[in-house]
């Protein structure tokens, strides 16, 4: 994949932003300000961001709990994410749910649930709609190594293949499902082989090398977008933290973690950029300053946001009557449709940042060129 310098810096910015949002979330957790569990994707940045970078307008992602990078790449709002962690009344779930279980269909993000694997059949339904409406858009559905052991994973892959659905499946094999290492989960070397059982092309790739991830996923996207049906890419990466921040992960051999920390995707990409002379100190400082400002803003926005009102606890269980638009079609956000706005609040969905510049980096220096 040929990438312009601006794209490379954008990828680097998203990787740094993802890491920084999660680092700050962990700090908030340690300070007792996050009420529930914290799950991070540290080490997944190359996979999550690299995969999502291959998408274009109209495509839809079905990200899971370690896919903050995918959210941000598709315009996800760091403020919304912080409001989720801090259980605010204006979070995308209005405090009903935590973690990254957030989405906005109009911006192509499907919210997930904690039963991993269950999002894959849902992704099939999204892709089925695209097929029925004769679009050239695709769905990207990631899951972890653990989820590949569930029934819905296999039902989803099979259905997608039989129906020739436009889905790219990404397996983020990070070595562990909670404390269970891969050798206790499956008896094959490469999870990409699972696709063979469904007549689906697949490959596996170093999930900590963002350019390699993009090359492999780009091939899968090209196959799928051409109407040939689903494709799968296994990205081999590592979960550097515990399953959640409550998990010390002392079951991970220290030398194994050390080995993967040396393969940290951000450090590697940084070295790659520096070697090519694309990341001078000034630009790096500019990126760090922007990352810090965006994270600070997100945290202060969330901290100054109201808690949900307990009196609303039984609200919003059922959607109101009225016409429903088909997502992605002209006029779909006309307020006369029940699914145009978030009818719980009467406002637009707020998973995606209103100010797109939050997730876009444009170096001053590049601009001058």
């Amino acid at each position: 994949m040929q990438l312009e310098r601006a794209d490379l810096l954008q990828i680097y910015y998203l990787m740094r932003l993802t890491r920084a949002v999660e680092d700050r979330t962990r700090t908030l957790f340690l300070q007792g300000r996050v009420v529930g569990g914290v799950y991070t994707g540290q080490g997944h940045e190359a996979t999550s961001i690299g995969a999502a970078m291959t998408l274009r307008d109209g495509d839809i992602i079905v990200p899971q709990h370690r896919d903050l990078g995918m959210h941000l790449t598709r315009g996800g709002s760091p403020s919304a994410v912080m409001c989720q962690w801090l259980a605010r009344g204006n979070s995308p779930t209005l405090g009903r749910d935590g973690t990254l279980h957030i989405g906005d269909m109009h911006h192509g993000i499907v919210p997930s649930i904690s039963m991993l694997g269950e999002s894959l059949p849902v992704a099939c339904g999204v892709a089925l709609t695209m097929k029925m409406r004769k679009r050239d858009t695709i769905v990207m559905a990631p899951c972890g190594d653990g989820a590949t052991n569930t029934g819905p994973f296999h039902e989803g892959l099979n259905f997608a293949s039989v129906q020739k659905l436009p889905i790219v499946f990404i397996i983020e094999n990070n070595g562990y499902a909670y404390s269970t290492p891969t050798h206790k989960q499956f008896a094959i070397e490469n999870l990409s082989d699972r696709a063979k059982a469904y007549g689906m092309p697949s490959e596996h790739v170093d999930g900590n090398d963002v350019t390699k991830v993009m090359d492999a996923v780009e091939r899968a996207v090209k196959h799928t977008r051409s109407g040939k049906g689903p494709a799968l890419v296994e990205c081999k990466t590592f979960r550097v933290r515990g399953h959640s921040e409550a998990d010390r992960a002392d079951y991970v051999p220290p030398e194994l973690r050390e080995e993967w920390l040396r393969k940290d995707p951000i450090k590697r990409f940084e070295a790659y950029l520096e070697e090519k002379g694309l990341l001078p100190e000034a630009v790096k400082a500019e990126i760090e300053a922007k990352v810090k400002a965006v994270v600070d803003d997100a945290v202060s926005f969330a901290e100054s946001s109201p808690a949900p009102d307990g009196a609303t606890v039984a609200d919003y269980v059922y959607a109101p009557d009225g016409p429903i638009s088909i997502i992605g079609e002209p006029g779909a956000t006309d307020p006369r449709y029940v699914n145009a706005l978030d009818t719980r609040t009467g406002k637009p969905f707020n998973t995606v940042a209103e100010d797109a510049s939050v997730t876009r980096f444009e170096a001053q220096e590049v601009g001058k060129r």
Binding site: V110, M115, E118, P121, V126, T129, P152, F159, A319, G322
Partner: protein
Amino acid sequence: MTAVTYLEAIGQAMREEMRRDETVFLLGEDVGTYGGAFKVNVGLLEEFGPERVIDTPMAEAAIIGSAVGAAIMGMRPIAEMQFIDFITCGFDQIVNMASKFYWRSGIPAPMVIRGPSGGGVKGGPFHSLSPEAWFFHVPGIKVVVPSTTYDAKGLLKAAIRDNNPVLYLEHKLLYRMPELREELPGEDYIVPIGKAIIRRPGDDMTILTYGTMVHQSLKAAQTLEEEDDISAEVLDLRSLVPLDREAILESVKRTNKVLIVHEDTLTGGVGAELSAILAEDLFEYLDGPIMRVAAPDAPFPYAPPLEDAFLPNADKILVAARKLAAY
């Protein structure tokens, strides 16, 4: 106009809704070429093609999950369970995915899950289920149970047009029952979800029931009038979620006695919740104990004498009603 069966009414509802709204489509096992295990969908594939009448692999999580995915895109899928018993294989997609979607994200999931439920056809433990209590307990989904041909069509149309996941439980024993043949209105109509109906008015007690037990209750009420001079009102709930509390309370306030009848097993069934509502809201109106007739707390059996012993029927309802009337 010719009288149609309950089964044909279901087919008509789907056909008319698919003609009216291009976002409506059907998916499930053997629903297309074969027309469904009970031939409910005969003719739909020919009229609407394989893109809107989708024969799926044998995979309920994929069927229901795909329906959820299409619904959040703004489509109105109908997911057919070949037998409603198999809904357990897609349970998570209903109770965790579909039911909570709007509540947690603001994104509506307008979809229907339907399939043949109930016993009386020697289906044994895995083809006779009345699954309503599991879903009755889950906030975020609606549950409807038609007992007549008119309602079978009208409730399905209402379910398809609803913006929430709706579980539509059709009873396989009623599919081709000759007594249920009915001439249906030529014009479009719906039966609103959440509205019960008095099938037989009465003064001495209310029989709260739904589904196929409506017919057994009506039979018992007829005998009560003829042999015991007892006037029993039969209230067909039609919709379990939301419940028509107003109609339930109004009836029982008048009759002061209540017998609850359902085909599903007793413990933790819909009748248990109805009993609690009545005990809380109408304590001072009740002139006798709230009584229930339901299947015993055992799995659904196969052999005819066991099935007969298991299923509630007019005779069992009669015994309970006479006991209640004696108070």
